[in-house]
Symmetry: C2
């Protein structure tokens, strides 16, 4: 492989935003033409590289839940984590750029990109997982975030999931993705900065205040369990956008216990099933926002999962202005979800 094909981080000299130039991604098996706005029961079993028995089609597993008498990269597993065959970033040697052009700033596309194969059988709907299976997925996130964070070159670990082709899923078989990067991503930088400014001003965590206000108000509460809450955020970019947060302050997802993971799985499944009923199995993304790798317990930040249904497409207004138009007020979205959950 030539150097030209290696991924690269590049910074826009005007706005300062970073992008990932990943030439290898163009080879991955996906075409826009086949995208569907709703996720469906999976087809394409025959060639699925994530099914049991197809382990030779994926790189060597980095984590697995398997029966005691089975071997890595063989059958007999119920969850596997493997490196992404079409990675956006790679474990290349350099983390810092050799050239120091500060105008057109580029850095080697160092990082790790993994796939969590969430079950051995060929299903595409997260709600088809049992509570125990969903818990194991949440624990795999926790354990891989912790493992990848231990590399001092990694400053952040992003966990996300695409459900349905309209949400960017290229393979139907249930999977999530994990990307470890040498910088904290722009969206998390913005949240950390806003949360830190609020904490400096008010002496409290802004997420804790959101939870307290929404519990008192009630209109945007979607669902609750003992230790977690699902909310329609006050200023959602997307119709039926839902955030799931621990009620008690905690900046790092890695502290999640096995028991709490089971509780969170139950709440996540209820919320996702509610979205399926209200929006008739929409495509959606969800992603984890947690503290930077190896960060101490931060008083101003609060980990959470954001669920973003794909009911409308970002168009010229959104890309040009950075403002999202959302046709569904969160108070109405929460009410509809509560009624159908």
């Amino acid at each position: 492989m030539s150097d030209a094909a290696l991924p690269e981080y590049r910074r826009d000299p005007v706005s300062g935003r970073w992008v990932v130039i990943a030439p290898e991604r163009s080879a991955r098996p996906m075409t826009l033409a086949h995208a569907e706005p709703h996720h469906r029961d999976a087809d394409g079993r025959a060639e699925c590289p994530f099914c049991e028995g197809m382990e030779h089609d994926t790189p060597h597993e980095t984590y697995a839940l398997r029966a005691p008498d089975t071997v890595p990269d063989g059958p007999g597993w119920r969850l596997r984590v493997v490196p992404n065959k079409f990675p956006a970033v790679r474990p290349i040697a350099e983390v810092v750029a050799k050239s120091r052009d500060t105008f057109f700033e580029a850095r080697p596309g160092f990082g790790r990109h993994e796939v969590v194969i969430e079950c051995a059988r060929h299903v595409s709907d997260p709600v088809a997982l049992s509570d125990d299976e969903f818990r194991d997925v949440l624990l795999a996130y926790r354990d891989r975030v912790a493992a990848l964070s231990s590399d001092p070159r990694c400053e952040y670990v992003t966990v996300f999931k695409n459900v349905g082709a309209e949400a960017g899923a290229s393979l139907a078989h249930l999977h999530s993705q994990i990307v470890a990067t040498p910088m904290v991503p722009d969206a998390v930088v913005a949240e950390l900065a806003g949360a830190n400014a609020y904490y400096t001003r008010e002496g409290r965590c802004v997420f804790c205040d959101i939870i307290a206000r929404d519990l008192a108000d009630g209109r945007r509460v979607v669902a609750e369990s003992t230790h977690f809450i699902a909310l329609a955020p006050f200023a959602p970019r997307f119709a039926y956008e839902t955030w799931v947060l621990p009620k008690e302050h905690d900046s790092r997802y890695e502290t999640l216990t096995d028991i709490r993971a089971g509780e969170l799985a139950g709440l996540m499944r209820r919320v996702l099933a509610g979205l399926d009923r209200v929006l008739r199995s929409p495509a959606y993304n969800y992603y984890l926002h947690t503290g930077p790798a190896r960060s101490a317990a931060l008083p101003h930040y609060h980990w959470h999962i954001e669920i973003a249904p794909r009911t409308a497409r970002a168009a010229g207004f959104e890309w040009g202005s950075g403002w999202f138009i959302n046709a569904v007020p969160p108070e109405r979205a929460a009410e509809e979800l509560r009624e159908l959950m």
Copy 2:
């Protein structure tokens, strides 16, 4: 109409980003299910509200190019601008919120949302316009930006275009949209801030420096005319993203002369035709970035049009991290475009 249906700007208490909650938009005629990744010759002539003879289907025109002996809102026009029937923002009385909750901050969704119907005949491909017709579209942008900017309640005018359903176009008949708002949108705020910081540090316009460097380097130059240049930006969010800028420094699009508009139209048509050839008539958005309403000539800002083809969907990684993964390096995109233009 009840107050609950009026649009509202809302600010996220964590990141500070604004969104537009626009309940009326849910009534507009579009379903995700019919989206196509490529734009096509238009169908649906029979019910098209933008065709000549269907003027009764649109609100009263605010601007038109028409034959001398014709009347407003009747046939005989070659370009019309009308208020959007399904507006994201509205000319409601209040601009500033009555309630001053600074935590959950909301403002009335004041603004104006117009549609530029670019020609009387039912075509969907911008390249099907003649150079003169395209020039008239660019001049309509100029004149409406100037007119809407004269309202002291408007701080910014956003001009954008969606081509193809995948890019958010809900009607095939060629049209652009114009949205005047009482705040400068987040994406423009970020550009203005970055450009201002660069100017303070270097004493030069960052866009002028980009043009000078790219002209010297050549690899990212897509096309040129006497006074304009089309570039693949160094850090593009989207594959084949292209920026079109005046070579000479100018912060406000409204200064565009009729003659320069003709030159710009020719360059735009060449670039869009090139994208059609390289990407086989992709869906795309383009949008104008210009100085705020009534701003003086700014030494640090430089108006430009960004063209964003829709060849991949933003997925969990993009929404969660704010970083875009782009599989096509801009140097390769510019080379392919140059070869096929």
